[in-house]
């Protein structure tokens, strides 16, 4: 049973620390089931936005809502519990774990076995683990990692590792997926595969996707809507075509840059 997906609304979010204004009254809305790209030159505040959305940074002012639920000010694990998943630009995979174990971490908020149940290997814990491992296998197959489940994740090529990271976020069964540069550093082949996975996630799972990306080709192809940031401010937004021709955007990327 799926509940009606909700829009992610960002309203006037400002983030200030140590005298620096990283985000200045940024607003945008991610329609449910769409791919929304956040682009901008380096230092524009894209990662900061993600950190605010996932609760890692606290917004100085403004709000973030998922549907009617307010996300601002919540601890990261609570936001995760409400259905927001994210990947990391620099990969946050456990250094020694297998792919399957890495993916299972994503199931954390959906499982319940605690210290006692796991330590005593109670049947409830083993049953739960088996059930969720099955689901992990399904998700791994969906993104094309089913053959690598037993491999140590750190031994995989970079592109596959990013895919594991994506898979782990998917294992959280999120409503909103935040992808931080999902195809950076990949070969052309890997890029195509990941782009297909992202499109597949949107189309068949109906998950809203917010994507920070530099590769304009992918953005133009995949994104339903784009928000452009520069110096912490939203300077343009709309469909990829609209944004591509917006003079403010062109100037931000090519114009007065140091």
């Amino acid at each position: 049973m799926t509940t009606a997906p909700a829009p992610l609304t960002v309203r006037d979010v400002t983030v200030r620390f140590a005298g620096l204004t990283a985000l200045d009254a940024v607003s945008f809305t991610v329609e449910p089931g769409s791919v929304h790209a956040v682009i901008g030159p380096n230092g524009a505040g894209k990662s900061t936005t993600f950190n605010v959305l996932s609760g890692v940074y606290r917004a100085t002012s403004g709000s973030v809502h998922l549907g009617d639920t307010e996300l601002t000010g919540l601890a990261p694990h609570r936001i995760a519990g409400l259905g927001v998943a994210r990947t990391f630009q620099n990969l946050a995979l456990p250094p020694h774990a297998t792919v399957a174990e890495s993916l299972m971490l994503g199931r954390h908020r959906l499982t319940r076995a605690g210290f006692v149940a796991s330590g005593l290997r109670l049947p409830s814990a083993t049953r739960e683990a088996r059930r969720h491992l099955e689901r992990v296998r399904e998700i791994a197959a969906f993104i094309g990692l089913d053959k690598e489940l037993g491999f140590p994740a750190a031994a995989l090529p970079y592109g596959k590792q990013k895919l594991v990271e994506l898979g782990r976020a998917l294992c959280m069964e999120p409503e909103v997926l935040l992808l931080d540069e999902p195809i950076a550093g990949m070969t052309a082949d890997e890029r195509r595969r990941t782009a297909a996975v992202v499109a597949g996630v949107r189309d068949s799972l109906g998950i809203s996707i917010v994507m920070v990306e530099h590769d304009m080709g992918v953005v133009m192809r995949l994104a339903d809507a784009v928000t452009v940031l520069d110096f912490g401010r939203r300077i343009a937004g709309g469909t990829p075509a609209e944004v591509q021709n917006d003079p403010a955007v062109v100037q931000a990327y090519l114009g007065a840059q140091e």
């Binding site: 519990g81 456990p94 299972m104 330590g119």
Partner: protein, 373 residues
């Protein structure tokens, strides 16, 4: 699903978690070594003298404590220098709960006189509760801040142990009531088994083995399951862990409590073996020894904790026993290096050597690169 697994070929997709199949396992030497080792361990009390049995019991208690510290520091990355405090809570808690009120050398000692098996259980829970009291700190801090904050526990502990005379016996310590379980008392009253006289050391041996086995299995279960993944995530990528739904502070506090209970259990066992509690023992040096144990054995590994504990705790015993035949080492009091000092040199050097040359500790020697739990 077809199982065409060979032991050393590509990892079986069906067994993403499981290791090689049962027939695969039976073809290797490891299980037979385990069997032989277990049989030896069970037979030791029939052949070893008290000195070695006591040394072995110290090692078992140390192993239980080390497994606990490993959960906290090795698997979750929370440096703690306060382990000795919880050992003291366990040891002294058992004495206070299980001992009767008495007077020793003119000092009154209070005791609740509970049945000793209950006192032992409650002492472990008490250690956990003490860990729980510290959780506002243990949950929110990490790294050096936590390490030095836990140092405060040591000093608080020492202060209480030396001052709360009626509870702790001050600098004299307390006698330890022998454990009684189902009418069987683990004391020095001789019981003859297979023509071998069994005293406290022999009786406690099996209790110790059982406790160690249970502790090890429980820890393995935790590490292999959902909590273990969460703990490792906290160690490796704290922020990512939170973002993935792991309530970081709660898990940090939880593992701190669990680790404290392991220390409490180790403390109870130590008290039973020593038959006397002594306040100086539970100082900072003991905490440092436990840290050395888990590093030498291998952080994040239950087996490693046991190996490291055996190494560090047996070293002084071995050196003392053979001090005559070893160069440099001599009996305490005469010239040369005392066994206690010599063992400290050795395990201090071992810590440095292991970290620099054997990352992953001794436990990872067997399977370099493979993740060991």
């Amino acid at each position: 699903m077809s199982e065409t697994t060979k032991d050393t070929a590509a990892p079986a997709p069906a067994g993403a978690f499981a290791g090689p199949s049962l027939t695969g396992r039976l073809r290797r030497p490891a299980p037979y070594l385990w069997l032989a080792g277990s049989v030896l361990l069970l037979l030791f009390p029939f052949y070893l003298d008290r000195f070695w049995l006591q040394a072995g019991l110290f090692a078992m208690a140390a192993a239980i404590g080390a497994i606990g510290l490993n959960l906290l520091t090795g698997s979750t990355g929370q440096l703690s220098m306060g382990h000795a405090f919880f050992l003291a809570v366990g040891a002294y808690g058992y004495c206070v709960l299980g001992g009767g009120s008495s007077t020793e050398n003119g000092h009154a000692l209070t005791g609740l006189g509970l049945p000793t098996w209950l006192a032992a259980v409650l002492a472990v829970l008490l250690a956990g509760a003490a860990g729980g009291l510290f959780s506002p700190i243990a949950g929110r801090l990490s790294g050096a801040y936590l390490g030095i904050a836990t140092l405060a526990l040591i000093f608080i502990g020492q202060h209480v142990l030396f001052n709360a005379g009626s509870l702790t016996g001050g600098f004299n310590g307390r006698p330890v009531p022998p454990l009684s379980l189902f009418g069987f008392t683990f004391d020095d009253a001789e019981v003859v088994v297979a023509a071998v006289p069994f005293q406290s050391s022999e009786k406690l041996w099996y209790l110790g083995l059982a406790a160690l086995l249970a502790s090890g299995l429980f820890a393995r279960g935790v590490l292999r399951g959902r909590p273990g993944r969460a703990l490792n995530a906290i160690r490796d990528h704290r922020i990512a862990a939170g973002v993935m739904g792991v309530p970081v502070a709660r898990y940090r506090a939880g593992v701190f409590v669990l680790s404290s209970m392991y220390a409490g259990l180790a403390g109870v066992l130590l008290a039973l073996v020593f038959q006397r509690t002594v306040p100086e023992y539970f100082g900072m040096i003991l905490s440092l020894e436990y840290l050395a144990m888990i590093v030498i054995g291998g952080l994040g590994s239950v087996a490693g904790a046991v190996i490291g504990a055996a190494f560090v705790s047996l070293l002084p015993q071995v050196l003392t026993h053979y001090s005559d035949s070893l160069p440099l080492v001599s009996a305490p009091g005469t010239g040369g290096i005392a066994p206690g000092e010599a063992s400290r040199y050795l395990y201090g050097a071992a810590v440095v050597a292991v970290v620099l040359f054997l990352p992953g500790g001794i436990a990872r020697l067997k399977n370099p690169g493979e993740k060991k739990k």
